[in-house]
């Protein structure tokens, strides 16, 4: 299987620390978050499977124990930003996408 291409979506500086944005990549809505403390970026699907709306990029990020999470702005379930798993309802999960910074650009594989 050939690897999907890296698509540039914005500049790293467009990401306000500790918030998210949403990018459209190959017709998929990808929520991208930047944690200032971890100096790390994360990408998961923007679709909240419980609230059934494209809103995850507008959630608050943080930690629960050792997990890095985003809280859905609709009903506040937490999704693990590394695995996509929903902490409260493990039967739900969201897709996780590879993301990197290349020459000041944020790139996603989706």
């Amino acid at each position: 299987m050939s690897e999907k291409p890296w698509i540039s979506v914005c500049e790293f500086d467009d990401l306000i620390p500790d918030t998210g944005v949403c990018a459209l990549v190959n017709n998929q809505q990808v929520a991208i978050f930047r944690s200032r403390r971890l100096n790390e970026i994360f990408a998961v699907s923007n679709y909240d499977p419980i609230g059934e709306a494209n809103v995850l990029s507008r959630g608050i990020i943080g930690s629960i124990g050792d997990e890095v999470v985003v809280a859905s702005p609709l009903y506040k379930e937490h999704y693990n930003l590394r695995t996509g798993e929903c902490l409260e309802k493990p039967e739900y999960n969201v897709a996780v996408y590879p993301v990197r910074i290349d020459d000041g650009l944020v790139q996603v594989q989706a």
Partner: protein
């Protein structure tokens, strides 16, 4: 071979018996078979009324088929046991089934008594006992405007509440001269009546119904013995319960004179191997119409069958309930029937409180009590009564209101013996709660899971928590009020740290006082604290990540991810020109338009990228943000007041606008609402608000800490005869004191209720400046107000700030998941069904 245990009736007590037996150490020696006449396994009858507020049969279930299967309990539903063959030790059912037993348990409960009134069997003449009854009531209520409950006892009033909630004009017809004659004395019954009438339920006492005939205006007409009559569409009989002893009677088991299956201290009947438990059982010539004694009987019967030595020795019949919103409690010998007993009475018509204690002839022991309107003393009095504890030196203090605030008079849970029954629904003693704390329980959730305490009627919740807290303290475990795992502090402590150390950002606070990354609990809470003290632009880069769902884009997120727009309409006053602008904007962007409950206009369905453009138009037209998203001042509801209203005493609209403009944008632990009424008719409903202001001939009256919403609370009168300046001064102080000391998401109502010393203390702080902080509170408020900015104005004036308002960072495309249909000439989100229907034409969205 296993012993066969047949349980007739799978109600609350029958199930309790089974549950105890199958979890007994010797459970494997028994085979349990149970019959129920009802179509379902045991459910929580005590909580039956919750069925009207949305609980389903499933929510009420106490057990289910899986559990019984797992425990090998055989159950047969919808089959009534109609005969017993003692010689062959068999039960016989309506369907002809025969089942042998070694031990037979009768747990047939009771049935509602329907007085033998001619015409009592109409289609809309109903009773209140089973889920099926409730379904019938719901159906009947849909076809009725007026409902009558026959019987003003405990269940009757619960039934009346249900009818009232269903929107019916509700009447209670009682034969006795007062309500709840069994539990309450005359004074208590009188006050209860007054309170219930005040909420619109009509009470008719000393009415004997002679007949029910066809009505002229409504469905039925009830003719009373005194010649009067009442018309109604439906009738609910709740005139008491009778033990269900039909089967026992038929088979010659000994009954009491007025019914009930006679049992001894082992719950055995006069027939060998036959027991009776629950509401069908008569012990010591008494029927116990409450579940807790039934549960004790279940325990005793299991003990007797398995060779134990438990005995039933009677039970405490004390009750504490909320009926139609009125707190009522009855303890022990409420009527003072003990020879020589004395009484203490406190009766206050202004606050509508009635309390009476019955004490022994030597004034040493408490025998009983009646409480109406204020039942705070229940826990203390009930424990004192059942445990035979000595009365304090001055028994008055048990019922007199505490002048010096605080509940100094509570006996304190430490004084209770280990065996004291804390939760009578689940038979949980103080010892059992302490024991589960010793085994690791740390929260009320843990206690509930481990002991079931406080999961029944809920009457013991406060006491259970006190026992838990006291035990935790003894174990040296600090009772945690930490806001979340990231900060070892309460909201109040964080607010102090922020204020005293002049901390301006979340990161600064986390670095110095917390750990981890923060979360969706502490971030918005700290965001609110920072805003409350420094009032900087909330979407400043350093604060943005802290903002909750709604604040982060200055609008309220709707179910599909779009937003609502609520401009401020101070005091509800709006010019025609501004109304037109709202209409134009709504039309241009196809927004759903609705008048809110807060006297302003909400425009729904704006997409993220449209927000700045819409707000630009609104700001240009002179609108400001309404902070409908913020934990901050929402609205100041006004009535029209003296400028137009013929009764108006002062200019309520003017005051409402002044207050709204003064406090707009001020962040707090939770939202804050005001109301200003121009006279005591109170058209602005000010007494249901956090701050209520009512005009009187002598000046403004200020009410504080009211609440609508989930748990309504009337505001308390704080001060009267105020001029404008003093009014504002007091509000400044109370509000800032709340901002400093309130808990996360705690409305002013709960804040006040949790304040040690309560209203009196608050008055001392604010009016008498007991803590010498008033100048500081006022200065803090003045600073905060001086920093006000309309966040939307700031946003639309700065292109950089608007960049975030795009659905996608890398394209101008919009969310393809949105779909709207038209209803009543406006848009609404399509339902899942509509989305999947290819024939439906969705509304074309505005770019």
């Amino acid at each position: 071979m296993k012993k066969r245990i047949v349980v007739v009736g799978n109600g609350m007590v029958g199930h309790k018996f089974i549950d105890n037996l199958v979890n007994h150490a010797d459970a494997d020696q028994y085979k349990v078979i149970t019959f129920s006449e009802e179509p379902r396994l045991a459910y929580d009858r005590v909580q039956l009324s919750k069925y009207f507020s949305g609980s389903t049969a499933e929510d009420l279930a106490l057990t289910n088929a899986d559990y019984y299967n797992e425990k090998s309990v055989e159950f047969i539903l919808k089959d009534k046991v109609i005969d017993l063959d003692f010689d062959n030790k068999e039960v016989i059912t309506a369907s002809g089934r025969r089942e042998g037993y070694d031990k037979l348990i009768l747990a047939t409960g009771s049935f509602p008594f329907v007085p033998p009134i001619p015409g009592n069997n109409g289609e809309h003449c109903l009773v209140y006992r089973t889920i099926e009854d409730l379904e019938a009531i719901t159906n009947s209520a849909k076809q009725s405007k007026v409902g009558v409950v026959v019987g003003g006892g405990l269940l009757g009033l619960e039934a009346a509440a249900a009818l009232k909630a269903a929107g019916l004009e509700t009447h209670v017809v009682e034969f006795a001269p007062r309500l709840m004659a069994v539990q309450l004395d005359e004074g208590g019954g009188k006050l209860l009546r007054r309170k219930i009438e005040a909420i619109g339920v009509k009470v008719h006492t000393q009415k004997a119904t002679n007949e029910i005939v066809a009505g002229t205006e409504l469905r039925y007409r009830m003719n009373f013995a005194d010649g009067s009559h009442l018309e109604t569409d439906m009738i609910l009989f709740s005139a008491g319960i009778r033990p269900q002893d039909e089967l026992a009677r038929k088979c010659g088991i000994q009954l009491g004179e007025r019914g009930g299956i006679v049992v001894d201290n082992n719950c055995q009947t006069n027939i060998d191997n036959v027991y009776a438990i629950g509401e069908c059982a008569l012990w010591n010539n008494r029927i116990y119409g409450l579940v807790a004694p039934g549960y004790q009987m279940a325990k005793v019967a299991v003990s007797h069958i398995t060779g134990g030595s438990d005995q039933f020795m009677g039970a405490d019949m004390s009750t504490k309930l909320k009926l139609l919103g009125v707190d009522v409690a009855s303890i022990g010998d409420a009527h003072g029937t003990t020879p020589g007993s004395l009484s203490y009475t406190y009766s206050n018509d202004v606050d509508e409180v009635y309390k009476r204690m019955i004490v022994s002839a030597d004034n040493k022991k408490l025998l009983g009590a009646v409480l109406v309107g204020d039942v705070e003393a229940y826990g203390t009095l009930q424990q004192m009564c059942v445990n035979g504890m000595d009365l304090p030196e001055d028994p008055n203090c048990l019922i007199l209101p505490n002048v010096e605030g605080g509940s100094g008079m509570a006996i304190g849970v430490d004084a209770l013996p280990e065996a004291a029954m804390i939760c009578s629904c689940y038979d949980v003693s103080k010892g059992a709660i302490c024991c589960s704390v010793q085994n690791g329980a740390r929260t009320m959730g843990d206690i509930k899971a481990l002991t079931k305490a406080s999961t029944g009627c809920g009457g013991c919740t406060a006491l259970t928590k006190q026992v838990m807290d006291s035990e935790l303290k003894k174990l040296g475990v600090e009772v945690s009020n930490h806001i979340c795992e990231h900060f070892p502090h309460s909201r109040q402590e964080l607010a102090d740290i922020v204020r005293i150390k002049q901390i301006k950002t979340f990161d600064e606070l986390l670095d110095g006082h917390g750990h981890g990354l923060g979360c969706d609990i502490c971030k918005p809470a700290v965001g609110s604290i920072l805003a409350a003290f420094w009032n900087e632009y909330v979407l400043d880069k350093k604060h943005i990540g802290l903002q909750d769902t709604n604040d982060i884009f200055l609008g309220n997120m709707q179910k599909d991810g779009t937003y609502s727009i609520v401009p401020r309409v101070a005091g509800g006053e709006i010019t025609p020109d501004k109304l037109i602008v709202l209409g134009q904007v709504a039309k241009q962007y196809k927004l759903y338009t609705k008048i809110t409950g807060g006297q302003r206009i909400d425009l729904f369905g704006a997409q993220l990228h449209q927000l700045p453009a819409i707000w630009k138009v609104l700001v240009e037209a002179g609108f400001e943000t309404g902070h409908a998203y913020g934990k901050s001042l929402r609205t100041v509801k006004s009535c029209v007041g003296s400028t137009w209203c013929r009764y108006g005493v002062l200019d309520s609209v003017g005051m409402a606008i002044t207050l709204e403009n003064r406090y707009k944008g001020v962040r707090a632990p939770h939202k804050i609402k005001f109301g200003v009424s121009g006279c005591t008719r109170e058209c602005a409903e000010a007494q249901s608000k956090d701050f209520g202001v009512i005009a009187t001939e002598t000046g403004w009256s200020l009410y504080v800490c009211g609440n609508g919403g989930m748990r309504p609370r009337h505001a308390d009168l704080f001060a009267t005869g105020l001029d404008d300046v003093t009014l504002i001064k007091y509000i400044d102080r109370v509000m800032m004191f709340y901002i400093r000391t309130g808990d996360r998401l705690q409305r002013t109502s709960v804040w006040l209720e949790n304040m040690e010393g309560g209203l009196d203390y608050l008055k001392k702080v604010v009016i008498d400046d007991k803590l010498s902080i008033c100048a500081e509170l006022e200065a803090q408020m003045a600073y905060n107000i001086s920093q006000y900015q309309c966040e939307w104005k700031t946003t639309v004036e700065n292109d950089e700030l608007q960049k975030r308002f795009k659905h996608f960072i890398n394209t101008d495309a919009t969310d393809s998941n949105l779909a709207y249909v038209v209803e009543r000439e406006q848009i609404r989100p399509a339902t899942a069904l509509e989305r999947n229907n290819t024939n439906i034409q969705f509304v074309e969205l505005v770019d």
